[in-house]
């Protein structure tokens, strides 16, 4: 019997090329900029407007005294005054650079810790549960201890931020590594990858989506912990961050200031997520074909 591949190589090539053409997945075209704006930006804006409208109605109905529920316009005026005297940029800078430094230190500590927990069985058995437990412990609980150990200074604040971010970052990396299909390290092994080459070329890039999720959560926890620390540990030497500003509002019994501070804290957290983490996550997931909706 003649073998088909010997009989008609030309036809075979054409069949192969045809199959390639037919079987290649066709990706949906990315939506236009305008469409993405309409889909991504308008709904949250609408929700915000609705919130302010309800707030205005509740204020106008005067259910609560002015000192409890200020008018939206009063809060806006407070916000504008901090912009006019430039103080708001100082608050944001103080807090954001602290959170960023703390977060960076958290990445430096959390990454090797995550690799150790994921790959060394004894380490996982020993501190794996502790690490997960720490994740659910509100890091504000560490503030009194930090103040006693370090005094009211930057060290105490960074300590609290680290304890907030490290467990999330390490756990994210652990779950990222755990979710790697076992065939990929096997492929690395048959290609002769040593321990470090395998970690660098296979393990870490394969774990990147999980790691990124951990980083995102780590940032959120850094931010939260920092606000808690700034709110509690106050000293003129520490400068005025957003948490301090919030505390000032509370001390002066100024509800517009308190609400403006809360909005600012929320705004910065969301802005960092949207500017830094969302695009990073999107490009990583898109490169792997893991997303169609983002």
């Amino acid at each position: 019997m003649p073998r088909p591949d010997q009989a008609a190589p030309d036809l075979d090539e054409a069949v192969g090329a045809g199959l390639d053409r037919l079987d290649t997945p066709t990706g949906a075209r990315p939506a236009s900029l305008r469409r993405r704006f309409v889909r991504g930006f308008l709904p949250p804006l609408g929700a915000l407007v609705l919130l302010v409208v309800i707030w205005q109605i509740l204020w106008a109905a005067a259910f609560w005294p002015e000192t409890t529920l200020p008018a939206p316009l009063d809060v806006w005026a407070e916000f504008v005054s901090t912009i006019n005297d430039g103080s708001v940029f100082g608050f944001i800078w103080t807090s954001v650079h602290r959170a960023a430094l703390g977060f960076a230190a958290g990445v430096v500590i959390g990454t090797p810790l995550g690799i150790l927990v994921a790959k060394v069985r004894v380490v996982r058995a020993a501190i794996g549960p502790l690490l997960s437990g720490l994740q659910s412990l509100p890091s504000v609980a560490w503030v009194p201890a930090a103040v006693i150990w370090f005094g009211i200074n930057d060290a105490a604040i960074y300590f609290v931020v680290l304890l907030g971010s490290v467990p999330s970052i390490a756990n994210g990396l652990v779950s990222g590594i755990d979710q790697i299909p076992p065939i990929l390290p096997r492929v690395g092994k048959v290609m002769g990858a040593g321990r470090f080459a395998a970690a660098r070329h296979i393990l870490l890039p394969a774990a990147l989506p999980g790691f990124l999720a951990g980083l995102k959560q780590g940032w959120a926890f850094s931010w939260r912990s920092l606000m808690a620390a700034e709110l509690i540990a106050r000293s003129p030497s520490l400068g005025v961050g957003l948490g301090t500003y919030l505390n000032d509002g509370s001390s002066y019994n100024s509800m517009p200031k308190v609400i403006a501070a809360i909005f600012l804290i929320l705004f910065v957290g969301v802005a960092i997520e949207l500017i830094v983490f969302r695009p990073l996550e999107r490009s990583v997931l898109r490169a792997r074909g893991l997303t169609t909706s983002l």
Binding site: D5, D23, P25, P205
Partner: protein, 258 residues
């Protein structure tokens, strides 16, 4: 490949009374028992057997992923290349970067990697897909990238890849019939143009008859070599397939509960 002429002609891989037992004591399972097998340089051998015959175990042993419990395995190549049933490409790398990965691990420089990867992708007719990522390719195309990557893994710095050995563990089993058919002929074409030795594991008799120069039938639990067919390409494919199928059925029927 002038370097092959200089060396004494030895088998690409030689298995001598190889056995493999999993577990110990009462629960021990003998996967392989006294398997003798030789693949000559440039030869295409198909290893055929039903489920549980230890085909994949045998391939893992040759690949160095596992150690035999008995016997000895001799390889002329320092490291055989392996292709699995899944393409197992790195999803974050483009097709050409995937092919470059083993070259990178072997210590090739960047320009040499690029050049070799482009050549290999051309060999599997995927030059146009070099910049695509695995999720943008069809199953058959992914398996061809995996083939190019496996061939890349046979390259050594210094240029001596004359004794390349390719181990294939049912690489086309998950593909649809037409794609499988096309890939089988692609594999034959690539094998002819590279002179690589191939040890190909399959449970499909027709696939074994179509691809192999030699077909080796393994029994199940424990895996032993039952029978070998030489000069497969010169035989009548239909008749031979029927004959081998009959033997395979016989092997399987011995496992019926009595």
């Amino acid at each position: 490949m002038t370097s092959t002429l200089a060396r004494p002609v030895t088998a690409a891989v030689h298995l001598d009374r190889v056995g493999k037992v999993f577990g110990s004591g009462g629960g021990a399972v003998t996967a392989l028992d006294g398997v003798d097998l030789t693949v000559e340089p440039g030869e295409f051998v198909c290893l055929l057997g039903a489920s549980g015959c230890g085909k994949s175990t045998l391939l893992n042993l040759v690949a160095g992923l596992d150690q035999p419990s008995a016997g000895e395995i001799t390889l002329t190549t320092s490291r055989p290349a392996v292709m699995f049933q899944e393409a197992a490409l790195m999803p974050w790398l483009t097709a050409s970067r995937n092919v470059e990965l083993p070259l990178r691990l072997a210590g090739f420089g960047r320009s040499e990697r690029r050049e070799k990867a482009a050549e290999l992708l051309d060999l599997v007719r995927l030059s146009d897909a070099a910049r695509k990522r695995p999720h943008e390719l069809s199953g058959g195309m992914r398996q061809r990238v995996a083939l190019a990557r496996a061939l890349a893994a046979t390259h050594r710095v210094g240029g001596d890849d004359g004794n390349a050995l390719l181990l294939m563990d049912e690489p086309f089993a998950a593909l649809d019939a037409i794609t499988r058919d096309v890939l089988q002929s692609e594999l034959l074409r690539v094998w002819r143009s590279t002179g690589t030795s191939v040890l190909f594991v399959t449970h499909d008799v027709r696939e074994a008859v179509r691809l192999g120069q030699r077909v080796v039938l393994l029994s199940s639990r424990p895996g032993r070599v039952v029978r070998e067919w030489h000069d497969v390409p010169s035989a009548d494919a239909e008749l031979l397939a029927d004959e081998i199928t009959a033997d395979l059925r016989k092997v399987i029927s011995t496992h019926a509960p009595s």
